[in-house]
Symmetry: C2
Subunit: 196 residues, 2 copies
Amino acid sequence: MATVIDPASGPREAIMDAAVHLFGKQGFSGTSMRDIAKAVGVLPGSLYAHIASKEAMLVDIVDDGIRRFLDAVRPHIVSGATPAERLRAMVIAHVSVVADNPERSLVVFHQWRFLGDDNIQAAIGKRRDYEQAFIGVIEDGIKSGTFRATLNRRIAVLSILGALNWTPEWLTPNGALSPEEVGGVIADTLFMGLRG
Amino acid sequence: MATVIDPASGPREAIMDAAVHLFGKQGFSGTSMRDIAKAVGVLPGSLYAHIASKEAMLVDIVDDGIRRFLDAVRPHIVSGATPAERLRAMVIAHVSVVADNPERSLVVFHQWRFLGDDNIQAAIGKRRDYEQAFIGVIEDGIKSGTFRATLNRRIAVLSILGALNWTPEWLTPNGALSPEEVGGVIADTLFMGLRG
DNA sequence: TTTGCTAATAAACAAATGTTTGTTATGACA
DNA sequence: TGTCATAACAAACATTTGTTTATTAGCAAA
């Protein structure tokens, strides 16, 4: 019987985890390969048996990170639920992905600038798709009368994504509220606003 | 008659402007002194006749940036207006500071991690003061019945600041709306929420 | 024991980093 | 004219950077 190896337990995964942590905390340029090697407990040159280059690590981290957000949100974009329910589910899904690893989210949101030109363009394209998914749901809600017709769609979406993209700065995986609860509270705040 | 020299026209100001631009675009660690020197049109060593060190530049930029936000918002925190009016004025003031120089705001929001320990603590303290100013106004609004009593104060404030701190990513100084108008729209969105 | 594979080491490379030093050009004022 | 301050240059410094290469240890299967 073939031994079932935990796919997240190899040396490559240990290296990538350390890279996510350090890129999130110190930034891509602020992190040296020696920093990563020290965190893993290995000499710098040893890393290159498992990864191609420093930038290839960033590509992997950002691509994988973006995919997690898209995969988590996608099922709710066009579900049969009402626009308000769909948007709420998208907000909760987004917050859950952040909470799963806030440092990875910091890399996704802030370190993509250090990708090569091709990968930058790909990342910007996916971010635009992501924004468009939110805009679509909001427009559905306006059409159905659930959301205010006087909304500035663009600024509303950018404000929502701003609130969501700021969460890795303060969200702690072990807080009093679960990620789903936090997402629900944020959704309530955005839906109903401040005034009662 | 003494010649009146524009205080923003010296070589030191040119260097600091280039540093703001590059730190905002490439990050502190991603920017070399040679990058800055090239942007100014000078050899690297020449910079040190005008600035003490790379980190001293960052200290100056972040301190000055934080001060701009505090100065812009402070007069509205305890004005005689209603809580809703005060919060609206604070949001508009914040957006106006961002619009004045989005790159400087990016440095303030994301590069403070590269300060020395003492300056990091000082910056965190000022950020806490800033958050507290928004929390205070929201609590006033809850007490006076203007804002929903069911609000989660902390999450509401972090969502507001998230929306505001994301603006340097998309705000362009020459957009169709003035910074004040954008701030007003954001304030409306936050006050009334999405549903009508 | 030998073979073969995985993973790590040790050492070095060229290039880039922040910074310092001694010197030189420029122009205002005496 | 000579003096003085400002600002830049030219060259170098010790370190740190990402990466490569040749070699060695550990261990499972034959």
